[in-house]
């Protein structure tokens, strides 16, 4: 049986600061004042806790020694909720708007809480949203897809039709062209949810666009572009090159094993791997084949990249290679000195991720991280690397390299070519500064 002092040394009493600790108290833990936590427990638990804490000190953890109610009584029946929900303890992880970014919530964005997701798949309820004119839950039996323009046979499909056709299931990331757009000039938002959360990744199921275009007998000589159009009020329209449409675009009705969520285009959306989310038209109602781009509102007035000479680059689509450390990340406080699994996401609109390097000293020295499988084309890739935090200040960065050999740039390298006012396509290396207090902050270091 261990004595109190042994426990103290061995750390047998878990020192994880509980939810009631404030940053100052966590800082004390961080500073290694172990006795502090016991005092904190005493203060927080009040008289009732005193006894058990005292016991914990003498013989072990009350969470082990005193059997909880769930070990000693009956739990809930099956199908208590027909569609399962996350644990109530996970309620902090929600899609959220960035205050002040847009003026009305029906033409706005909600960001995925990347700080809390694991692996590469985004849970459907946390998939980021971007609507231009609100979202709808459309009756799928009334939804139609039309293909017209430079085709021999203009066609109409019902959802029944589309779901009878040969299907493919593929994992791809979707990233808004404006993701990280608030940070072109300087640091603007506190957490990875807001810096990078217009990013999600799903296994999509649907029909290859090439299958549908073939069925309609598209004009192979003059059909250089397609237009994708939505059925909502905005009737979002985006031009996609025929080359890309035939390469790997698909018309998807499912995400992560269930039908699309209404906010993500139920019952049908375009999946255009590697290019910005605005082209993944939701509530897809029509595809037109044409010989020229359409110059739509979101190709002429928005989703254009302002260059230093005052001209805009138009039809910029590809989401270039990018990565971000999701834990630790901005707005968090580390518990204590010692070991951490530093983890993050990497992706490229040009293919697979080849390598991710991580720096703990603000970009001076780098180590190669472990990539988790699967590593797929135009899909999120999870990376991990171990780190022992010595309690001193540190700046964490990640840098991804894709199959084309392209190395994720630093913000100053992007600015040197594209200026600071582009809004779109900011794929810069992200820096997280760790203070001695353990607090993690969004900074720019290059």
């Amino acid at each position: 049986m261990a004595s109190t002092s042994d426990l103290d040394k061995a750390g047998s009493i878990r020192r994880a600061p509980e939810g009631f600790l404030d940053p100052a108290q966590i800082a004390e833990v961080t500073a290694g004042r172990r006795g502090f936590l016991r005092n904190a427990l005493l203060m927080a638990g009040g008289a009732a806790a005193i006894a058990s804490t005292a016991r914990a000190e003498s013989s072990g953890d009350s969470n082990i020694l005193e059997l909880p109610v769930h070990s000693k009584s009956l739990g809930q029946p099956v199908a208590a909720t027909g569609y399962g929900q996350p644990s109530k303890y996970e309620r902090n992880l929600q899609r959220r708007e960035s205050p002040g970014l847009t003026r009305v919530s029906a033409a706005s964005v909600s960001f995925t809480p990347l700080q809390g997701t694991f692996g590469i798949i985004t849970p459907n309820g946390l998939h980021f949203e971007r609507h231009h004119q609100g979202w709808w839950d459309i009756d799928p039996s009334k939804h139609r897809l039309m293909i017209n323009g430079l085709v021999k046979n203009p066609l109409v499909f019902t959802m029944d039709d589309l779901m009878r056709l040969p299907s493919v299931s593929r994992m791809h990331f979707i990233e808004c062209g404006a993701n990280t757009g608030m940070e072109w000039g300087n640091v603007a938002v506190p957490t990875v949810q807001y810096t990078h959360g217009m990013l999600s990744c799903c296994e999509f199921t649907g029909v290859l666009l090439s299958t549908l275009l073939d069925m309609a007998g598209f004009d192979k000589k003059n059909g250089k572009f397609i237009l994708a159009e939505g059925a909502d009020g905005s009737s979002m329209t985006r031009t996609i090159s025929m080359e890309r449409a035939l390469d790997d675009c698909m018309v998807a009705y499912a995400m992560n094993g269930e039908m699309l969520r209404p906010e993500n285009g139920y019952p049908l959306r375009m999946v255009a791997p590697g290019i910005q989310g605005v082209s993944w038209v939701k509530w897809l109602r029509r595809i037109e084949v044409g010989d020229q781009p359409w110059g739509t509102k979101d190709e002429v007035i928005h989703y254009i990249d302002l260059m230093p000479d005052g001209r805009h680059r138009q039809y910029t689509s590809i989401q270039e290679c990018k990565s971000v450390i999701t834990s630790p990340s901005g707005g968090q406080t580390l518990l204590d000195k010692g070991f951490y699994n530093v983890t993050g996401l990497a992706w490229s609109g040009r293919g697979k991720v080849k390598r991710v390097d991580v720096s703990f000293d603000g970009g001076r020295n780098w180590q190669t991280a472990r990539l988790e499988s699967p590593i797929q084309s135009k899909c999120l890739t999870r990376f991990n690397i171990g780190w022992k935090w010595d309690g001193g200040p540190a700046v964490l960065q990640s840098r991804a390299i894709d199959v084309t050999g392209y190395v994720q740039p630093k913000i100053n390298q992007l600015r040197a070519v594209r200026g600071t006012r582009s809004i779109y396509h900011n794929n810069a290396i992200q820096s997280w500064k760790i203070a001695e207090s353990g607090e993690v902050a969004n900074v720019q270091v290059y």
Binding site: Y89, G295, L334
Partner: protein, 337 residues
């Protein structure tokens, strides 16, 4: 597509006399779209005016529609920033001549008329999506009219102008930013290559900045309490932004330029270059002989305001009075390092 599919397509085309194409491969799936169905949905208008229906509308008629159906959200003059960014403003007669909007080179807000380079885009968009809360309810002539009015608000067409499928090209030739776009293949084509290059240095890499930018303390709470936005278990907890930062407890000695950076002044001001706001040197020069400047400027930095250096106002700055006083004092001294 593979040669095989090509061949198959050619064969099926011959067999079916062009009707079925690959539809024959998937019998029973899909059907021909009727001409009326295509007319109902194929409403897009391209920059070469393909798809533009015949019709017309005057500026005067457009004003009536605007006031009734658009002004509530976009403002009487298309200037409102309430529901969406302003549609009108920032273009000049000079821009109409050159086809390039000069103000796009300035760090200022961008209106719709500053950016749009094809008039078809506005016609198409208003026709399909506006009014925002009742899209696709305007008649063709109403779209022409309200667009004519919008163009008149931007001084692109005169008050007696009538916009029609015949006068669209005239407007195109006057659009202030018609020459303001470049097609950039690097981020479009499947084989497009990158314009920004980094190298994967691994050891003793050269850094160009120290801490170049960080979130100022006053902005900690702008996104709600971060403690409520992080998981309750795991390697970290959310920072309780309702409380002061831990580091704030310790007195820190900072240089004035750091204080300016920390409080975002540097986002708009630099030592000797005009950014959004005037340079510190210019400010110092202007108020050299003015004894009352310091208190005036402290008030201005606190409350924000414009008109002294140009049309762009400075927003209010939320920092401690003593910090503002220190900063203004430092700026008036020429912002020494």
């Amino acid at each position: 597509m593979s040669r095989f599919t090509d061949l198959l397509l050619a064969l099926t085309l011959c067999a079916a006399g062009g009707a079925g194409a690959q539809a024959d491969r998937y019998p029973g799936i899909g059907r021909a779209a009727t001409p009326a169905e295509i007319r109902a949905w194929d409403i897009d208008v391209r920059p070469d005016f393909k798809g533009l229906p015949a019709g017309s509308g005057s500026v005067a008629k457009g004003q009536v529609i605007w006031d009734e159906k658009c002004a509530s959200c976009h403002g009487t003059f298309g200037e409102s920033n309430e529901v969406f960014s302003p549609l009108v403003g920032g273009t000049t007669a000079e821009d109409i001549k050159s086809g390039r909007v000069k103000a796009l080179q300035e760090p200022m807000a961008r209106t719709t008329l500053m950016k749009v380079s094809s008039i078809s885009t506005l016609w198409d968009y208003i026709n399909r999506a506006m009014p925002w809360n009742a899209p696709k309810t305007l008649a063709v002539d109403e779209v022409y009219a309200v667009l004519a009015y919008l163009l008149n608000l931007g001084d692109i067409v005169p008050a007696d102008f009538v916009l029609s499928e015949k006068t669209m090209q005239q407007v195109q030739d006057r659009l202030p930013n018609r020459n303001g776009k470049v097609k950039y293949d690097g981020l479009w084509s499947i084989r497009g290559s990158a314009d920004v290059r980094n190298v994967a240095c691994m050891k003793d890499c050269k850094l160009e900045s120290g801490l170049a930018s960080a979130l100022p303390d006053f902005a900690r709470g702008t996104h709600g309490n971060l403690a409520d936005q992080q998981r309750l278990i795991g390697p970290a907890r959310g920072v309780d932004t309702a409380k002061a930062p831990v580091s704030a407890a310790k007195p820190v000695s900072r240089s004035m330029s750091e204080l300016a950076t920390k409080n975002n002044c540097s986002a708009c001001h630099q030592l000797d270059k005009k950014l959004v706001g005037p340079s510190y040197k210019d400010i110092a020069a202007r108020y050299k002989a003015d004894d009352t400047a310091e208190s005036k400027l402290v008030d201005k930095v606190k409350k924000g305001g414009g008109g002294v250096w140009g049309p762009i106002p400075m927003p209010p700055n939320a920092l401690k009075d003593e910090d503002i006083r220190a900063l203004v004092h430092w700026i008036l001294a020429g912002a020494p390092e």
